[in-house]
């Protein structure tokens, strides 16, 4: 094995910040003349589970309150969604705890799912051949009573429900700028369409609009564009910085149904503490009457990894070579692919959830339970709680939504996140020691060892170069795949001649350049073949490959939404 290349001076992406001042660029006063502004009651940015739950709950409450409905105007609830349809950018493993969706819509039990979890296993993968089952299944991995779902599909269903209730769903529309006046959030400005590469106006140019709202809900998901700016500009950041993991997922059509959910730890990730590789896999059977059996398989790894050559997409391909996995997938066909970042900062990274006129819900606020791998029901629950606070406060003509934050912390969402507050951080000590500490935390519901284990920004992790990439299989196009064939399956057709929506420093040391190249599951960043082995590299950026997973925001760049409608069109992610 070749020697790992450790730079003499620690190099980290955070030393090369993106050329963007997000507060200045993405927060500001309305600019449209007053009579051209679009007035809505509540503007919800993001049509995911949190946004849709918020819309549905608001309209349920407004149904019995014609007076407030009247005051909210012609469009009481608007959902601004950047995808082609609601759910187009949605991806999860996904196992959902049904408690929140049942509370939200008690009379509608026909939400789409792929089977109730009836069996589960956890394996520790020793190497590329062997695995040992962990028995009994460790408590966080117990999923009885939960359901396998596709959030892309679930969101199309939620979107229909919201629309039936009276929500206006504005698809192919991005929330580009948060409108703030006198310290109060007044709405959002939507993004322009039809700009050319250099930012000029094409023949079909359509400027964005100021959407003025009495309440603004940021439910933007894992890499909130406006949320990021708001955390900085409105001083909402939590105790710790947010940290993320990257998940890459495939859906397979298989011959034999898999009647359980499987999680794995260990191989192909390396246990050594210096690599900082924390993560694992999931393999979920997706079974539905009248449909060929399917399997959701994916791999997740923390983005504070040290090795610039760690590629989660390629780790997933490597993982599929394990005989345990082959037995499940072989003879099947990959029908879908996708990638998404996951906020893993947990409790300590939770931001303040409100500002005058605004609240933050779901993944945008980092409401993910890392040890339990759950977040869908938190998103629904927080959207619902936000709706209830907004309804109460708008009745009183107030823009103070602070009671939403208290409601979240008092709910199961807040309680669960508090109990698991330190459960990711110990893994920086390596898998074995980290695992032991975390187990102690699980058993004591987070009381031992207590305190505050700090998170550090992913982009500050110093990088090293190893021969990690030599282990990735060469894609055969049948069982193992390259990145671009995955991007193709997402239906991504981002316009080529649009301005780049990815803000990064393009001239960086090789370590940083490679870290972005290997990290990105969609092949957006390329180190030129003739780049020097030492010294700065001028990265090639292919923004139209981007599936908007958000990893670059975690790892020292800044993603912004491209033109509305661009990006993937996930069906069954």
């Amino acid at each position: 094995m070749a020697e790992d290349r450790v730079p003499t001076h620690p190099v980290a992406p955070s030393q090369f910040p993106p050329p963007v001042d997000s507060v200045k660029e993405f927060i500001g006063a309305p600019t449209d003349p007053e009579d051209e502004r679009i007035e809505v009651g509540v503007a919800i940015v993001g049509g995911g589970q949190a946004g849709m739950a918020c819309a549905i709950r608001l309209l349920q409450l407004l149904e019995d309150d014609p007076e407030l409905t009247e005051r909210l105007g012609e469009v009481p609830v608007a959902v601004i969604e950047k995808g082609k349809v609601a759910g187009a950018h949605q991806l999860s493993g996904g196992v959902m705890n049904p408690v929140s969706i049942r509370q939200l819509l008690p009379d509608a039990d026909d939400w789409p799912h792929w089977g109730e979890v009836s069996g589960e296993s956890v394996y520790f993968m020793l190497n590329r051949k062997r695995a040992i089952p962990l028995k009994p299944v460790p408590p966080p991995f117990r999923n009885h009573g939960n359901y396998v779902v596709s959030v892309a599909e679930l969101n199309r269903w939620l979107s229909d429900k919201a629309e039936e209730a009276g929500a206006f769903i504005l698809t192919e529309t991005t929330g580009h700028k948060l409108l703030v006046e006198d310290g109060v959030v007044r709405g959002v400005r939507t993004g322009d369409k039809g700009r050319d590469k250099s930012g000029g106006e094409k023949g079909n140019f359509e400027p964005g609009s100021d959407v003025m709202a009495k309440a603004t809900v940021l439910a933007e998901g894992c890499w909130g564009h406006l949320t990021g700016a708001a955390l900085k500009g409105l001083g909402l950041a939590g105790n710790d910085p947010q940290v993320w993991a990257l998940g890459v997922k495939e859906v397979w059509e298989v011959e034999q149904p898999l009647n359980k959910v499987i999680h794995t730890l260990g191989w192909p990730l390396r246990p050594g503490a210096k690599y900082r590789e924390f993560g694992g896999s999931w393999i979920y059977g997706m079974n539905r009457e009248g449909s060929k059996p399917r399997v959701s398989i994916g791999f997740v790894a923390g983005l504070d990894n040290a090795d610039a050559r760690l590629s989660v997409h390629d780790v997933l391909q490597e993982f599929k070579l394990h005989p345990k996995v082959r037995r499940i997938l072989e003879g099947g066909k990959r029908i879908a692919w996708g990638a998404k970042a996951i906020p893993e900062g947990g409790y300590w990274a939770l931001p303040r959830l409100h500002a005058p006129g605004m609240v933050i819900c779901g993944d945008a606020a980092g409401m993910v339970n890392v040890p339990k791998l759950k977040g869908i029901h938190y998103a629904i629950e927080s959207g619902k709680l936000a709706a209830e606070t907004i309804f109460q406060q708008l009745k009183a003509s107030s823009t103070d939504f602070s009671s939403y934050e208290r409601a979240v912390h008092a709910s199961d969402v807040g309680k669960d996140l508090y109990e698991s507050r330190n459960m990711k951080q110990p893994f920086h000590k390596g898998l074995v020691i980290g695992g032991a500490i975390t187990n102690a935390m699980v058993v004591t519901k987070g009381r031992f060892p207590g305190g505050h284990w700090k998170n550090h920004p992913d982009a500050e992790a110093p990088l090293l170069l190893t021969d990690r990439h030599e282990r990735y299989p060469k894609p055969d196009g049948k069982y193992t795949f390259d990145k671009l064939s995955g991007v193709f399956l997402t239906g991504n057709a981002t316009r080529d001649d649009a301005p780049s929506h990815i803000r990064i420093e393009q001239r960086v040391p090789r370590e940083v350049a490679e870290a972005w190249q290997w990290m990105c599951p969609a092949g957006v960043y390329e180190v030129p073949e003739d780049a020097p082995a030492d010294g700065p590299v001028d990265l090639i950026v292919n923004p139209s490959n981007c599936v908007q997973c958000g990893a670059i925001t975690a790892k020292g760049g800044r993603l912004t939404p491209p033109e509305g409608g661009d990006g993937p069109l996930y069906q069954i992610m």
């Binding site: 991007v487 193709f488 057709a493 981002t494 080529d496 292919n542 069109l569 069906q571």
Partner: protein
């Protein structure tokens, strides 16, 4: 009623290549359905000679309807096609593609309350009816579209249908008098020009020499232009090099560029990602030059050359010139 009417676009005394493809496709489908394929031309009488119209017979049209009217505009053609379809009780309207085809097809669909499918890449006969196949989700899947309505409108993707002279000879020409709606005559053709300022229409070229990042630099295209010139063809490019500013967007092939199907597609320094492949996979002959023997393009090339394109391309140009004796 199951007869097929194909719109044939003409310009400066010649029928458009995609229209010829649509006529051939219409004739093939008509024979499977046990019916006939007709074509329709709309324009100024002077340009629509009997000879030009009846030449569509070579591609399988049995009858060509000739309507006098404004050229190159959609609404007059909608009027003319609606009349011919209604008068002759035809079942399908077929277009070879292009923006004009989309516009006429959409108008015709509204007029006849028909069913429509655009960007069709293939049509087949099933239970005595036509079924259109259309790529969706960025070409990653194919959907089948069946027609419920009385009339089915099929708008092909550019180059989806190949022109073949399988017809039995000259078609009969029938003049139709169309009573144009007032709004159809409001627009006039002011000027015609190639979209996006391209010098050569790469979608119509028989020989394409395409360059990718393997050229190394923008100047690499000079050698490709010489080879294309010698072959009498045009130069195309991948997204990567267009992004890098080495060549113009109008020459971009692939998922987010143009779709082509020339007789020869010579790919120089192109790795062959699927996003490029979907734009050129129906080319008749694919020849790839790449220094990386593992490049995916070799998996769908008819002929692959592993080597230095900077050496191979100029030699190829010389050889073509020598063969052509110029």
């Amino acid at each position: 009623m199951s007869g097929i009417l194909v719109y044939a676009l003409h310009y400066e005394g010649a029928i458009n290549k995609n229209s010829l493809g649509a006529v051939s496709e219409g004739a093939r489908l008509a024979s499977e359905l046990g019916t006939e394929c007709h074509a329709i031309v709309v324009g100024e009488t002077a340009g629509l000679t009997d000879e030009l119209c009846s030449s569509l017979g070579a591609y399988g049209a049995t009858k060509v309807f000739r309507a006098e009217g404004p050229e190159g505009l959609a609404q007059p053609v909608v009027d003319a096609m609606a009349k011919v379809i209604t008068d002759n009780d035809l079942g399908y309207a077929l277009f070879g593609g292009g923006l004009l085809g989309f516009e006429i097809g959409a108008g015709l669909t509204a007029r006849l309350d028909a069913g429509v499918c655009m960007e069709v890449v293939s049509v087949r006969v099933e239970d005595g009816k036509l079924v259109s196949e259309r790529p969706i989700l960025g070409d990653s899947q194919i959907s089948d579209v069946h027609y419920d309505a009385g009339v089915g409108v099929i708008i092909g993707r550019l180059n989806a249908f190949e022109a073949s002279e399988n017809g039995s000879g000259a078609a009969t020409v029938e003049d139709v008098v169309v009573d144009y709606a007032p709004h159809s005559l409001k627009a006039t053709m002011v000027q015609r020009g190639e979209q996006r300022g391209a010098d050569v229409n790469i979608e119509d070229a028989q020989f394409l020499v395409a360059g990718g990042r393997g050229l190394g630099k923008a100047e690499g295209f000079e050698a490709l232009e010489q080879l294309a010139g010698a072959l009498g063809g045009a130069v195309a490019a991948t997204r990567a090099v267009v992004d890098a500013g080495w060549y113009s967007y109008s020459a971009q092939i692939g998922q987010t560029g143009k779709t082509v199907a020339p007789k020869l597609y010579l790919a120089a320094g192109i790795s062959g990602a699927i996003q490029h492949k979907v734009g050129m996979q129906s080319s008749e002959n694919i020849v790839a030059i790449n220094k990386d023997a593992n490049a995916p393009i070799f998996e769908f090339s008819d002929l692959g050359i592993v080597g230095d394109l900077n050496k191979i391309v100029p030699k190829l140009t010389e050889a073509v010139k020598a063969k052509k004796g110029s």
